[in-house]
């Protein structure tokens, strides 16, 4: 191996020149341009894309995908969890209505009214509430409060009292509470509540404009398949009335807890 020095002129008159050769090479290489400006443009473009996506893209951050829908109404039958808010609500002028007797017959014999149950739990004959049901087909309208058996928690109105099933309604936004009442009654009619075990199944379903129940989903299973299926069956065999005209949306999503006492 040998070194060729062609192209590198020997210059005796300048002894410093060869020494600066190394420095020249180093400096020349250090000054080589780097494509930084182009990359800056790319970086700005990428950030603009990200910002644009954040500003104009889907804004729900994945929250709305499967969020628990807004609760505007809570109903509990049988005096389970009470309302969360206090004060007189729209239900002040609501219909006071007893469940129809056939619902009682199909589902199960109703327990006595709650006061009776508390005072005389054993001696109460099961037929007693059926013997004296309130007038069934004539709901009474009125703004007066109705004495019920439920233990209200400082909330607007409690209705019911017949058949041992107090109804508590906490209505915030939904226009037509009577529809809900009717819905609960109809579903209860098809519901085999007496499964012999305790448990609670949270069901979700959608009521269409025409009144059919769709998209029946077990939202929180009880752990026992029989209970979930009974709740599902109750929903699938129920046919509701059309959604009230005051309600603007095409569908109504309902979350309903079926609580099996025993």
């Amino acid at each position: 191996m040998s070194v060729s020095c062609r192209g590198y002129p020997v210059n005796n008159s300048e002894p410093e020149a060869p020494l600066s050769g190394v420095t020249e090479v180093i400096v020349a290489r250090a000054r080589r341009p780097e494509p930084f400006d182009g990359m800056l443009v790319w970086s700005i473009a990428a950030h603009a894309c990200v910002l644009g996506f954040l500003l104009f893209g889907p804004m729900d951050w994945g929250v709305a995908a499967d969020q628990i829908p807004t609760t505007v109404m809570t109903i509990s039958l049988g005096g389970a969890p009470g309302p969360r808010e206090t004060g007189q609500t729209q239900m002040g002028g609501r219909t006071v209505e007893a469940p129809p007797p056939e619902a009682v017959e199909r589902a199960m014999p109703p327990p006595p009214p709650r006061e009776v149950e508390h005072v005389l739990p054993v001696e109460t004959p099961p037929q007693r509430p059926r013997a004296t049901p309130p007038p069934r087909e004539e709901p009474q309208e009125g703004v007066t409060r109705t004495e019920t058996s439920t233990r209200g928690q400082g909330f607007g109105l409690s209705t019911g009292g017949a058949g041992g099933s107090g109804v508590q309604l906490d209505v915030a936004d939904f226009c037509c509470p009577e529809y809900i009442e009717q819905m609960v009654t109809l579903i209860q009619r098809n519901w085999q509540a007496n499964q012999g075990v305790r448990g609670a199944t949270l069901m979700r379903f959608v009521i269409t404009r025409s009144g059919t129940i769709e998209n029946v989903v077990v939202e929180r299973p009880s752990g026992l398949l029989a209970l979930d299926l009974a709740a599902q069956r109750a929903l699938l065999t129920t046919r509701l009335a059309e959604l009230p005209v005051q309600f603007p949306n095409p569908t109504l999503t309902v979350h309903l807890t079926f609580e099996y006492q025993r």
Binding site: C5, Y8, P15, I26, E34, L40, W42, G78, G79
Partner: protein, 254 residues
């Protein structure tokens, strides 16, 4: 004796009653934040833009550079003359080994020339009287070290900015969040309510700054470590090449 089961019912009215509508909206969140928070966000975006520009440039540079390093070493080990290697240098000029080689080559030529000039034609560079000899191998070594240092400095250029971004951006974001939470608490105190609907949005706004700080810092940390590793590798390659160069020079020119 059995009792009625109870039902608990929750109704949903889809659409306008949804409280989530708008709360995740970035535009409104940013618009509601304080000017300090907005300034923090702008600074962090600038940090992020600059650090990503550096990241992209370095990624591109290292990609080209490693390809050309392989090619240069291939040529260097196959060719029998330094001049052949020198001729190839322009085509693979991105690799730092070219800088090291050219510095060593220039130093050798300089030594030959000085020897040829002072000692007459007998030891002239490439002269007919025989092969040229190096006066000082240490001089060549020093030239190689100088070039390697310079090349490493060039490889590490702008990486300090990445390190700065990685270290400082989370703190800037944290600053924005702390200021935002201070202001949010003032607002809460002024409103006199502990309702979650009043407490939560202010804190949510304030936390955007921390998110932005992490958004800027995390890529900077990752790529800073990555590039540091690559520079270390290339530095080792350059040292290895310098030793190889010195060996060849010693074998042939002393």
């Amino acid at each position: 004796m059995y009792t009625f089961g109870s039902q608990i019912l929750a109704l949903q009215v889809p659409g306008d009653a949804n409280p989530f509508a708008g709360s995740g909206d970035v535009v409104t969140l940013i618009a509601q934040t304080t000017p300090i928070n907005q300034a923090v966000l702008v600074i962090l975006v600038l940090f992020s833009v600059a650090s990503w520009a550096i990241i992209l440039q370095k990624l591109w540079m290292f990609r080209v550079l490693e390809r050309e390093t392989g090619r240069f070493l291939d040529v260097f080990r196959r060719s029998s003359k330094f001049s052949e290697v020198q001729a190839v240098c322009q085509t693979v000029s991105a690799t730092p080994l070219v800088g090291v080689f050219q510095a060593g080559y220039a130093e050798m030529n300089a030594q030959f020339r000085v020897a040829g000039g002072s000692g007459g034609a007998s030891a002239g560079a490439g002269g007919a009287s025989g092969r040229p000899t190096l006066r000082s191998l240490d001089g060549v070594d020093r030239a190689l070290i100088r070039a390697a240092t310079s090349e490493i400095g060039k490889l590490e250029r702008r990486m300090t900015f990445l390190a700065t971004t990685a270290g400082v951006a989370p703190f800037i974001g944290l600053f924005g969040t702390v200021v935002g939470i201070m202001i949010a608490f003032q607002r809460i105190g002024a409103s006199g309510s502990t309702n979650l609907a009043i407490v939560a949005p202010g804190i949510s706004e304030a936390l955007i700054a921390t998110a932005a700080g992490l958004f800027a810092a995390i890529p900077a940390v990752v790529f800073y470590n990555h590039f540091t590793h690559r520079v270390k590798e290339l530095s080792a390659t350059m040292d290895d090449f310098a030793l190889e160069f010195l060996n060849i020079a010693e074998r042939n020119f002393t």
